[in-house]
Symmetry: C2
Subunit: 683 residues, 2 copies
């Protein structure tokens, strides 16, 4: 049935449908179903509620919008184009092509107006929980009576896939506990996933589920009734202490006479013939990528957006007059600029650590460093996945975050994420994306497996998120192989754009924190020991920041000769390397010890520096309590590593059992130098 005399709102929705089906058809790849199914919801939200300024996607107090079902990317591209963002129609024509601003899934930093990169399902809603958390915390920190300079909503579109993913449970459970009343999620309840009608594998009563989390649930409403969705959003905005889920019943691929309500609409072009039929059904008689002027006019949000931002600017000016220091601090924080004294705080912390030369676990060294940094940097937002006392992520400056009965934050800034590692990581991504905070969070290194894709997403998005992974090897002892990292440090080093640090002592730990905090474009991982580590005497403190450096020459071990070999070690094994160096020196064998707290950072140094640390021609042996495969890239001739799972026993017993003794390192080095023969050891 062709529509006639369509309302402006309907025309606006159909413009999205047309752009989506035509762009997917042109790319011969993509997902038309979600944009076509959610077009009416999009009109309700973007035309009637969303407070944004297409001319300034970075306006601090804009509403945040997250397309958690990121495969429906043409929905957000259409919306950004139509409302007036710097996304011309040529970019929509270049959908999914190299170097276009319209990649297959939305990517923050590529497309103006895209707040987060989505596609891996469940993470968008979780990022949104982080965005809403940051808003609530910043409001508490910066708003003053009569000055609500932080006061915006976070809206999320999500589908069945996001709701099936486990991370949605972690995130939405926390959103309820945190009373994130400005978080409004709209569920595209179309009953279809890629494998077909979801009923055989997805029977959740989602309304009941979200009520169990402490959310308000509205609906089901007809997701094609723009006024009904509009009213639901208006109602949701009134919530004072609960997030809201709006359940909207929709037809995937709506407008396509033969593909609507089928899985076929989800992830492939409709095809020329079906597109023709869809145009007829929608009464959309325009060529592909042609949008009538009145539809553009209906969508144009530039004037309204400019007025919204100007109004906020005026309010901010008033605030700045009343609270000049707060205003300056807010501007600094939102810009992601560190305090002017950051470098000095870092230097002081290194000097203090160097001076004390303490023997502590590197997780404790991390807490000591954090005491200094959290005192100086109010933007540091700590947390742990229910292992606060083990990860040592809390400090005197970071009281526990709690939510008051009225829904407001208490001003605390250490978050108990509960046993939710993946959720924590993706929420931290959302916090970082919001701006105003530098999030860090802890769990055991082994459980980086749980959060791995969110770590990857932080790297892909170039977000400053810091992971504190403690209990980093078999050195955790009795908890056994389920909890002992073997492959994790090496595996994390392989994630592009991520810096992994495994510091050996207090000074290296301070430097690792300094680098992680200072690096605005990268996430970082700190792999930290459970067990105590002796301080490694050193002079080249400045070189720690290069990721790898000469920690000790033979002369430091009392042998005045040039090194004939190099031991490369990281973290808790640096002490072993130093012990081996001393023993070898007593035997007249001069070796250098290189501490390599971050291979990623070392790899970015210039060739000359790298050659100076690892001179060509000197045999090298790596020592690390992890899989050996990683180390061959450094041209080693042997690795003292561990390529099997660990065991449950006290740590000293395990070190001996797995060959992490100075004696074994000595033997291995001697074989590498050709001064002893292999004794039938593994390497």
């Amino acid at each position: 049935m062709a529509q006639t005399a369509a309302s402006t709102s309907t025309l606006m929705a159909n413009a999205i449908r047309a752009l989506a089906m035509d762009a997917v058809q042109q790319a011969n790849s993509g997902h038309p179903g979600a944009p076509m199914g959610m077009a009416d919801i999009a009109v309700a939200l973007w035309d009637r509620h969303l407070r944004h300024n297409p001319s300034n996607p970075q306006w601090a107090d804009r509403d945040r919008f997250v397309l958690s079902n990121g495969h429906g990317s043409m929905l957000i591209y259409a919306l950004l184009h139509l409302t007036g963002y710097a996304l011309p129609i040529e970019e929509l024509r270049a959908f999914r092509q190299l170097h276009s601003k319209t990649p297959g899934h939305p990517e923050v930093g590529i497309t103006p107006g895209v707040e987060t990169t989505t596609g891996p399902l469940g993470q968008g809603i979780t990022n949104a929980v982080g965005l809403a958390l940051a808003e609530k915390m910043l409001a508490k920190e910066f708003n003053r009576d009569g000055h609500a300079i932080v006061d915006h909503h976070t809206y999320v579109f999500l589908g069945d896939g996001c709701l099936m993913e486990g991370i949605s449970h972690e995130a939405c459970s926390l959103a309820g506990a945190w009373k994130l009343n400005k978080l409004i999620a709209i569920y595209d309840d179309n009953g279809i996933s890629i494998d077909g009608q979801v009923a055989p594998w997805f029977i959740d009563n989602t309304a009941q589920r979200f009520e169990a989390y402490g959310w308000d649930v509205i609906g089901p409403v007809d997701g094609h009734d723009i006024d009904a969705v509009d009213a639901a959003i208006a109602q949701a905005k009134k919530s004072s202490a609960k997030p809201t889920l709006i359940i909207a019943k929709t037809h995937i691929g709506k407008g396509s006479p033969n593909r609507a309500n089928t899985a076929k609409a989800h992830g492939e072009p409709l095809g020329a013939e079906e597109i023709k039929l869809t145009r007829e059904q929608l009464g959309w008689n325009h060529e592909p990528f042609q949008i009538p002027a009145e539809v553009y006019a209906g969508w144009d949000a530039k004037a309204r957006g400019a007025a919204l931002e100007q109004s906020w600017d005026e309010r901010f000016d008033t605030y700045a007059t009343a609270h000049p220091e707060l205003a300056a601090e807010f501007a600094r924080r939102i810009a992601g600029v560190l305090p002017a004294n950051f470098a000095q705080v870092a230097v002081d912390a290194v000097i203090a650590a160097h001076g004390k030369a303490e023997t502590v676990a590197s997780r404790k060294a991390s807490q000591l460093a954090l005491e200094a940094f959290t005192a100086a940097l109010p933007e540091l937002l700590g947390g742990s996945a229910d292992l606060t006392g083990s990860n040592l992520t809390n400090t005197k400056s970071t009281p526990a975050f709690r939510v008051e009965a009225d829904g407001s934050a208490n001003g605390g800034r250490h978050i108990n994420y509960g046993v939710r590692e993946f959720g924590m990581a993706a929420i931290m991504n959302g916090v970082a994306l919001h701006g105003g905070y530098i999030p860090y969070g802890g769990t055991f290194l082994t459980f980086s497996d749980y959060s791995r894709n969110a770590i990857r997403m932080a790297a892909l998005m170039k977000q400053r998120v810091i992971h504190v992974f403690t209990h980093d090897s078999i050195g955790l002892g009795e908890d056994g192989p389920t909890h002992q990292s073997i492959e994790h440090v090496a595996s994390l080093r392989l994630i592009p754009g991520l810096d992994v640090w495994r510091p050996a002592d207090t000074t290296e730990t301070v430097v690792a924190w300094t680098m992680a905090i200072g690096n605005a474009q990268r996430p970082s991982v700190l792999a930290l020991s459970r067990q105590n580590l002796p301080y490694a005497p050193k002079t080249a403190v400045d070189d720690i920041a290069k990721g790898g450096y000469v920690l000790a020459e033979p002369s430091d071990a009392g042998l005045k000769k040039k090194p004939k070999g190099v031991i490369i070690a990281t973290g808790s094994e640096v002490q072993l390397a130093l012990q081996a160096q001393a023993t070898l020196a007593q035997q007249g064998i001069p070796v250098r010890v290189v501490s390599m707290p971050s291979t990623n950072v070392f790899d970015r140094q210039d060739r000359d520096y790298k050659k100076a640390v690892l001179p060509e021609g000197l045999p090298r042996v790596a020592v690390e309590m992890g899989v050996s495969d990683f180390w061959w890239k450094y041209g080693v001739s042997a690795v003292v590593g561990i390529d099997s799972y660990g065991e449950s026993a006290p740590a000293p017993v395990l070190f001996k059992h797995f060959g992490f003794t100075a004696e074994n390192v000595v033997d291995t080095v001697k074989v590498a130098l050709g001064v002893a023969k292999l004794k039938g050891k593994k390497r």
Copy 2:
């Protein structure tokens, strides 16, 4: 208040409490809180309901018990010891010591009676869903009127941590959809997690949540009222079409006057003084590890267990008389023995693939192989995380698994897991642990990140679980960097005990499947292409199974010279290597092409074979669309790899953009051979 005239049941519970606190104290490490809090629940289940035979932990129709909160390992060790398993008191004294049968967390294969390795929270309940699924499916497949040879329950203990983890959502949602009525979970609702009273971070209405999944929920009951828990279990066993959650309110560390109801009870020894006070409060006047004979007598389940198994044996004999072929098949399947014709099926499939020499995507080659294997092996249980049509995991022999209105299975054996990658992986672990099926399941390779820890757990547990990871590189094209694997293949290769296969064509894919199915002690990963791959002509088909082999000598490219270099390639890049070899041959440069579908398997070959494939002294170049770091272990002098994230564009555009062209491989090899100079390329 000291108890007097305690009932036998109370004494039995207190025996668990005493063993737990004393073993943790002796180890000076461990978790007394959960065993002490769940001791009464354990009496209700293990003494009054659990159908098991301590003398034969492998009895096929035993009830399965999973301690999902695996840190409470002393609970199950105490139960196994007390009921009569081969776990003498000396093993409890050696709790958490090297080579004891009582490691820090329960490990299957180490301790008789432990059904799965737990500790990484949320995975135990998910394994249990797999155990219950296998039971339901086997019952459908093998039971006949009057012969219920498969008829047992799966019981789970779980705590707050498991319920917070996202994977619990995935698993329990599926358990509801699958109407796993013989799954009974008991929630240790003590309101405490490591960070303290859970209220600020865990406010879920868990009863409402599970009702939303289609579970029956019983309680809250008093978890210290043994009769009440007993009655709840009895009620749960009557369920015909729903799993049951019993919510039991408990006091963590119950019996300890000062530690009960505190997070301090969770993960550290009580200390000598508190243990003394606990003994007094419990009225337990026995030395550590001394259990009174009457308590042993109360717990002893050997006679009852032997009778239960004998009764089943008799029923099975009757069944075997009526259905001899089915009985033999059941015995084979439970034993995990492959059909006698498996080898021939594999050979036939290889010959067929070799003969056809088809150009197909390796995901399609996988489906072709699966057509043969699923037809011959009824134990192959397929599935996909909502990507069936993309992963191509289904075959003509594997209709979709569905559950009838009465709760019974339909006989299908391809499972729509929904968008639940981690859940799928851990459920497959449970299915494999149950026995009777070889599970395999698909998703995109990038989302192996979501399931990574369950893959690790399969390797640690030595379970035959097969992961079909398709869309294995930038070759997937337009979906862009969120979906393009860069570091995944290399990262997965680092997991100890896992075999990763990345086959190049149809024959390699058949062999990869053959090896994966044939390897009863290892999980396997198949990384498969989205895009078509040409057949690679070969003679050494038998060598594929060695993981790496000489695919083509210079003579195969028309140059009768000995090779002066080696190109190592995997999967979709093998064709590039062959093209480069041909170009080089035309230029008079003889190189060998080694196809390396599984580095893990190649690494296990003997030294002579490895040297024959990769002769010393010949420069080597590796070609793989993934991070280059991995390949240096093979002594390569260059890698054509990709160390950044991908882009969204058609695959051919990306190949050129990232240097995956024969020309670039040729140039790289020539530099490696010293016949050309570096042209300022990355490598």
